[in-house]
């Protein structure tokens, strides 16, 4: 089986031949989202939010809020015309020379419902609003879901992706930001519409949520999410893989707070972590490795890293199932 055949076998709950490594599995596309959601260089996004991009990633400028009261969102939020974003051009650039017979085309869409509201008004204001003015939050989330859906339809038309990965970090290292009840009542209805819009067009929906978010897995699976990514080890990954075998793929596994993720981690430490992931999670048959290697210059997957070669070599010695 090649990467693509192996991936679909896993998705359908059949036995894959090997454990995929996301570095080899996907053609990840980010340029559409760069125009629609968050920039990859410092500056304002299409909504006017100022982003600061460091070697660790992008984030809205701290303490620079567009509004602080959710009841005011309509005065400040103006949705761009999707035709004006240039998604077609982005797709043309990114899809040149992609071998669709082998890899899985995965379009990333950062800044989901919760993160977008936090980009506008900061995390504290957003979190307070969820419980103090849930009606205005719901109204905002529904409107933003309409925008996301319009963008996703355009991605599907132009990229013809296999997977869309929707990123929304709803949790800290200790647990969910908000109670499951608040998520279900205020965010989930709009989130469900986004999932439906993608899956109804035959595209696989991947949900990226960092942190300890396992309490939402039942919701995600029930909503039609097929891949949970950046699955961090603060969650009971084996429990999740066992419970949702054939229904959910867990992509992650890397100890993002452990020694292999420290700056200056040795090649031996990186290889040891790679082997641990394969041995501990591979046997469940619904696991994709998502390594998280960082250097002084940023994410190794983007800036290169001499440890990647030996890591992949070591992976291929242990990835067979």
């Amino acid at each position: 089986m090649n990467q693509r055949e192996n991936f679909f076998a896993m998705l359908e709950g059949k036995k894959p031949e090997f454990i995929p490594n996301m570095m080899e599995l996907y053609k990840i596309c980010i340029l559409g989202a760069e125009r629609a959601d968050e920039p990859i260089v410092s500056g304002r996004d299409v909504f006017g939010v100022n982003w600061i991009v460091t070697k660790e990633g992008a984030m809205p400028e701290p303490n620079n809020f567009m509004f602080e009261d959710i009841a005011d969102w309509k005065e400040h939020v103006h949705f761009p015309d999707v035709d004006s974003l240039g998604i077609e051009e982005a797709a043309k650039i990114e899809m040149t020379d992609v071998n669709r017979d082998d890899v899985i085309v995965n379009v990333y869409s950062p800044c989901g419902l919760f993160e977008r509201l936090a980009a506008f008004m900061g995390f504290e204001n957003t979190l307070c609003s969820l419980v103090e003015d849930p009606d205005s939050c719901r109204e905002f989330f529904e409107a933003f879901a309409d925008y996301k859906i319009a963008c996703f339809n355009r991605y599907i038309d132009t990229y013809q992706p296999d997977v869309i990965t929707y990123l929304d970090d709803l949790a800290t290292a200790n647990g969910l930001f908000m109670s499951p009840a608040v998520y279900r009542s205020v965010i989930k209805p709009a989130h469900q519409r986004i999932v439906d819009a993608v899956t109804s067009r035959g595209v696989i929906f991947a949900q990226h949520t960092c942190g300890k978010c396992e309490k939402l897995m039942e919701d995600y699976v029930e909503m039609g999410v097929k891949i949970w990514s950046s699955a961090q080890i603060i969650n009971d990954l084996e429990g999740v893989m066992e419970k949702y075998q054939g229904r959910l793929i867990v992509e992650g596994g890397w100890d993002t707070s452990g020694p292999a993720s420290y700056i200056g981690a040795s090649t031996e430490e990186v290889i040891a972590e790679t082997i641990r992931c394969a041995k501990q999670y591979g046997k469940y048959g619904n696991f994709i490795l998502m390594p998280s290697l960082l250097t002084e210059n940023g994410n190794s997957l983007l800036v290169g890293d001499p440890r990647l070669g030996p890591m992949i070599e070591a992976w291929h010695e242990v990835d067979k199932l």
Binding site: I52, V131, G175, Y262, I263
Partner: protein
């Protein structure tokens, strides 16, 4: 229910729109400002414990802190010059190279609610800036350094080392953030570590006693 008890319950429930009236009523009923403030501090302690135990989540903790802050606004003019309930000044910031402020802000709110005067240096704070703030502010009893990224753990180490090597005394240093463990905190010479905002306020009080 006594008026002070009512204030306690309103803080715990995060009822910031009702708290100012309740505090004023407690004062009108003969309550002393210090006594009312202590009741709110006790309430926030309960909120912190519930958060650490996973019984409540960040929004509930935030709205409780917001309610307390509005209650304190009513008491402030009556307590000028009375520092008897103060635990001193806490200088807090996210270390150099790290722009994450959520965890730091939550700790800041809980520490303020516990009775500290908070000087928040923001994000991307150099070790030297921490030292300068300790010198510039009166009665610094606590310095809190936060870091979310594994890549900024060396900056956390540098901040603690620089603060300790500055020769300044009279305060303790507490560290926290997603990749930080009690072992790492001890290894870099911090006096304390907390896993979340609720336990940070407990640890802070314990350290400055």
């Amino acid at each position: 229910m006594s008026k002070i008890q009512e204030v306690k319950e309103l803080v715990e429930a995060g009822k910031s729109k009702k708290i100012a009236v309740a505090v004023q009523e407690a004062l009108d009923a003969g309550g002393q400002p210090g006594e009312i403030l202590q009741a709110m501090v006790d309430s926030m302690s309960v909120v912190g414990d519930k958060f650490s135990a996973g019984e409540i989540f960040v929004p509930e903790m935030l709205i409780a802190a917001k309610a307390m802050s509005k209650g304190v606004d009513v008491l402030k003019p009556l307590m000028t010059g009375d520092n008897s309930a103060s635990l001193g000044t806490c200088v807090i910031g996210t270390v150099a190279g790290d722009l994450h402020d959520i965890g730091k802000n939550l700790v800041s709110m809980m520490i303020e609610s516990a009775g500290f005067t908070v000087v928040d240096l923001g994000v991307d704070v150099s070790a030297e800036k921490f030292v300068a703030a300790i010198k510039e502010n009166e009665n610094v009893t606590l310095v809190a350094c936060s870091g979310l990224l594994t890549t900024t753990m060396p900056a956390l180490k540098e901040a603690v080392a620089t603060i300790k090597a500055s020769g300044l005394t009279g305060f303790k240093v507490i560290v926290g953030g997603a990749p930080v463990t009690p072992e790492f905190a001890a290894e870099i010479g911090a006096d304390g570590y907390a896993a979340d905002a609720g336990s940070a306020s407990v640890k802070a009080k314990e350290l400055v006693k």
